[in-house]
Symmetry: C2
Subunit: 475 residues, 2 copies
């Protein structure tokens, strides 16, 4: 870690790639468009998974696993779906040394294969709702890739549910967006704007798509999770039916929703600074790193013993601790290294600390350093971690709010989306939306659930508009 | 669940498929050779994962994730490896609407891609050992498939490690086999025979392969986990080198090891009976099912309240409980249903139980039914689950031992492998091994670590033999 990351002000995109690689979150794979998630990045993903999985189970969902391969004919059954995904498909044409009769698609998403199974499993209203989720890899062929944000293969969870009524399915799609919002805000410390996607930004095959949008450190938007009300589109294409209470066959109403390893990219870009990562304590693989400082062997022995004791007490307090006892690098090197990796709290302990019965604590978020009596450390750390978590969320919220502006004229819109989020009345027409995209490179991120009420004038055409939308340049 | 499973004595293979499907562990996918793991089966797999993952982390391993796609040229770099896997590969030839310059293989295992990355990451002896694991899906084209036991796509974990010396790598391969043994015996209640694979049964590319072999209910063997000492075979093919303490470049020594969803098949076949699954309590997704029995609404109310209380107390005691409050099926139907699903303990509670302040407990393993005072239930259940766990292991061990025979003549060998495991002196020659396979359809399962010592006469050729091997027909 002798290298330094490129400053954000110099080249944000380069800064991002530097941080992801130097903090050893991920690396480029020798396969075009693919990445390798390294242990530190994967540990972060495991914590993301745990936070989401717990919430899915609490809301009654069960995990399952569906095949990686989807017969090409399945993808073709839902017209909008195949059109949306056709350019991104990876195709297996040979298996076991022979050419296949029908090519197999490597799943880009699993609505089609899951509907095939749901059509087999669902008999009556008693089998509904069917609330499934799977954790898996998916493949979408990408020309321009970026670690975590856009890769040909990525990891995600995809929830798939079937319901007896449109209302229930709609409520489920909204409930899961709430779950994502809760995770983003409380675990990832990322303030997100929940809302509806415009029709042009809808998922291919959905009736309505919902999204959580976050502002990155360069003021661009990142779609961080989506939830779709699928209506009966896939149910009709696959014959997914149930017998209702009157013994009549009905098509089910469905939803699907997903969060991917992209979330890691969001965490990097929302919280990181020119020293590297800053990880929210709830998700940080290592919450506290202890760095011993000593010169003489006699010092080492006493400090090592003190650290063993502190580590034990912190672990008992439920804190994820790492002791950096490397003997081939200096304490200063270690400080930089763990700052780069975004560990929320650093504990330094040297001979003078030991003599004074204290340690020196350093907060990654503020850079503050202060002494804490050794006896108090285990009791103090959980509160400090909470404080860091809250302060990261506050900081990110302030940054986003300071860079989000309500605009009412075309000129304001153009100016704001060059360096932030614009909130504007929009008449809902695809033409106005297209004009914004063409002339400003900003897209319709979402129509937020939170609306001022009343009506306004469309920022593009001046026609009456009943909703405001968020426009921004996006990843 | 009105259907009944085929009795084992009638058709074991049919019994297996019946149980897996009727207990809703898995289902056939509409894609040749693939399966769908249903929620109950996936919950079992999650418990298998948790038990293994904890042990991997305790022994210093870190999880990571490597790409699904491997360039065809990588697979070709290690001669034995490509020869072993060539007939089983699935090949992606098209991506993003275009023919690829180089076809991509869907990983059958990841030694090649992981070596490519290790060669990049490892610089000096300080980077060793590198102890990685990944949980993922792999694909091996199979002609004849069976749910969990042999499918084109399956889920597994694959550990990959790099070491400075042959001794360390060898010790690691053995350590991980010990971890698998510990998991099989203590979590899955499956007594396994740990040992070395014969040269012909070795993993393609390994120097030595270790295995744990288990006896299924039909007395056939199932390889339930393998660990390989890879020597420097992949390191030399991929240039995976490190600078040693003398600043000289050396090739690393490696291991790889894996357990797959096959373990679920083993659990089904080792413990199940003609009523269906019997799950070991440590892994059972539901350890206790509570079935209310009532006729009148007044009864229902009191019983529901009692059950809510019992459930709370069992949950607090760390027990995984499910209350079956379905109102469209009878208690008798529920009993059969949960027996089919192998839930270790059933709690029945009806008006008479309630009046007597007791519940009726039923053990899935023995069928025993006995009353327990309600006040004692939460305190009694953990001990009962332990007892069931121990009794399943004991029963499986007795069954295996009763059907394993030491043989010293060809005639005995032929007779024993027709219906059990044979333990015999073997000279180690591939010819003798081939003769056994051709004439009896039994294969060399392993050369157990536990040996009697001394020498004996090869059961085939009579030459001096220094080791005994286990021969059996296998899945």
């Amino acid at each position: 870690m002798a290298e330094k990351v490129t400053p954000r002000s110099e080249d944000y995109s380069r800064w991002y790639t530097d941080v992801v690689q130097m903090a050893e979150l991920a690396d480029y794979a020798p396969v075009k468009g693919c990445m390798v998630i390294r242990p530190y990045g994967y540990a972060l993903w495991e914590n993301v998974q745990a936070g989401l999985d717990r919430r899915f189970k609490e809301t009654g969902h069960q995990n399952a696993y569906f095949p990686l391969f989807i017969p090409e004919s399945f993808i073709r059954k839902e017209a909008e779906h195949v059109e949306g995904f056709a350019p991104e498909l990876a195709v297996v044409t040979h298996g076991g040394g022979e050419k296949l009769e029908e090519p197999l698609i490597v799943r880009p998403t699993s609505e089609t294969i899951i509907n095939t199974m749901m059509a087999k499993w669902i008999r009556s209203y008693r089998d509904l709702p069917l609330l499934l989720n799977q954790w898996c890899n998916v493949v979408r062929w990408e020309m321009r890739t970026r670690l975590f944000l856009r890769t040909t293969e990525f990891l995600w969870q995809e929830g798939h549910t079937a319901h007896a009524t449109a209302e229930e399915a709609e409520a489920e799609a909204r409930r899961m967006l709430d779950v994502y919002t809760d995770f983003a805000v409380n675990d990832a410390a990322i303030p997100v704007i929940p809302g509806r996607k415009s029709d042009t930004e809808r998922f291919a095959g959905a009736v309505r798509s919902y999204t959580i949008e976050a502002m990155m450190g360069d003021k661009r938007a990142l779609q961080s999770g989506t939830s779709h009300f699928l209506g009966q589109n896939f149910a009709r294409a696959f014959g997914t039916q149930y017998l209702d209470r009157n013994n009549e066959l009905q098509y089910v109403w469905q939803t699907s929703w997903g969060v991917s390893t992209r979330m890691i990219g969001a965490i990097v870009m929302v919280h990181g600074d020119d020293q590297g990562l800053i990880l929210p304590p709830v998700l940080a693989p290592i919450q506290v790193v202890i760095v011993p400082i000593w010169r003489k062997d006699a010092e080492k022995e006493a400090i090592t013993a003190a650290i063993a004791d502190l580590r034990g007490r912190l672990t008992s307090a439920g804190v994820r601790v790492r002791v950096d006892d490397r003997d081939d690098v200096s304490p200063g090197f270690k400080f930089n290294d763990w700052e780069m990796r975004g560990v929320p709290l650093r504990v330094e302990i040297g001979p003078r600390d030991l003599a004074a019965g204290q340690v020196t604590l350093a907060r990654r978020d503020t850079g503050e350093k202060f002494p804490v009596p050794m006896a108090d450390l285990a009791a103090r750390v959980p509160g400090l971690l909470k404080d860091i978590q809250a302060s990261l969320l506050r900081r990110a919220t302030e940054f986003r709010d300071a860079n989000t502006h309500e605009v009412s004229t075309w000129g304001e819109l153009v100016e704001v989306v060059a360096d932030g989020f614009a909130r504007a009345w929009w008449c809902g027409s695809a033409e106005c939306e297209a004009k914004i995209k063409e002339e400003t490179r900003a897209t319709t991120r979402c129509i937020p659930f939170e609306q001022p009420g009343g009506t306004g004038k469309c920022v593009v055409c001046g026609a009456e508009a009943r909703e405001q939308a968020i426009f921004a340049r996006a990843y």
